[in-house]
Symmetry: C3
Subunit: 131 residues, 3 copies
């Protein structure tokens, strides 16, 4: 597997890592299969969404903040229960089809690392399964 | 990979595509592996849930509408931020086990295309990875 | 594929099944690939989150209860619409990288079966795809 390093700059933000995933796929020379992207953190996740208008990202972030407030009657003492909950809602992995040596994404799709408890140095793991 | 075409009829609805996925698997002659179903749209998603009582579908749709209102202080100018957010919560792909040439689903499980900004002509991509 | 049996004890709870998944991987002798974990129930799901402080689990469960109340204007007559909705939010499968014959999880990550309508006897299916 390969590792992508990500430096996040805010407590909560979405960062498009599609270019980095594409670079890994290119080096692999795999023509057909599946690309598994995995987030090894429990206060961050992964999602696919629009990469054209940046306000889509901020609307997602804002709605997640509204649904899952940072401060409420949480028991976990580290003060980041909202980050754990958001991460379970986004999910910790993405699977994308590889065909003709290309990641098969829709026209408007970006691959987002969802930082829910930054800023931090993060990593994402990528495994390519050939078919 | 194979493509499934879907014509949606409402702004928000769940459409069972299990039969179409099964047809693709049948033609592939693959006996064992993984079926990856991918939604290339950013205002639609995929989920697995009950296919017996149709009120389960409508309860899911209604609760998503309640949690993520269509009209609130969104910044994205297209008026479909709720559709983007719902899509990230459902997720853009499903992975299902193939064994004995069959999709391994539970007794009550259907495979739903989650239209969050229809009606539209949509597509879903299916990739079968043999083991 | 292999089956994990799970006895749940509460209506809603998260149960760590990482040890059981690891046992299956060990027996498989697979060194590199992907581990697909699938939940065949429509009122239960799967998620990855922190396995150190048990209050993370209870905070997740409590927030899900708050966002998706058990009793509201649901149409589904079985009284467990909340369980179906929660299951679609958690998701029905997890994909984890296998490298060096090991499941590649982050330091704090556990693999949780999300019981949303227990207590019941449940099962989870595990398929290992070698690369």
């Amino acid at each position: 597997m390969e590792e992508i390093k990500i430096k996040t700059n805010n407590r909560i933000e979405l960062i498009d890592i599609a270019d980095k995933v594409n670079s890994i796929l290119e080096k692999s020379k795999i023509k057909s299969g599946l690309c598994l992207i995995f987030c090894p953190h429990t206060t961050a996740g992964l999602t696919i969404n629009e990469n054209a208008d940046p306000s889509v990202k901020s609307d997602i972030v804002d709605m997640f903040k509204r649904i899952i407030p940072t401060n409420t009657n949480y028991q976990h003492a580290e003060g980041n229960s909202d980050s754990h909950i958001k991460s379970s809602i986004f999910g910790s992995s993405l699977s994308i089809i590889i065909e003709d040596s290309q990641l098969q994404l829709g026209t408007w799709q970006g691959i987002y690392f969802c930082e829910n408890d930054g800023p931090r140095q993060r990593q994402v793991w990528v495994k390519i399964i050939s078919n």
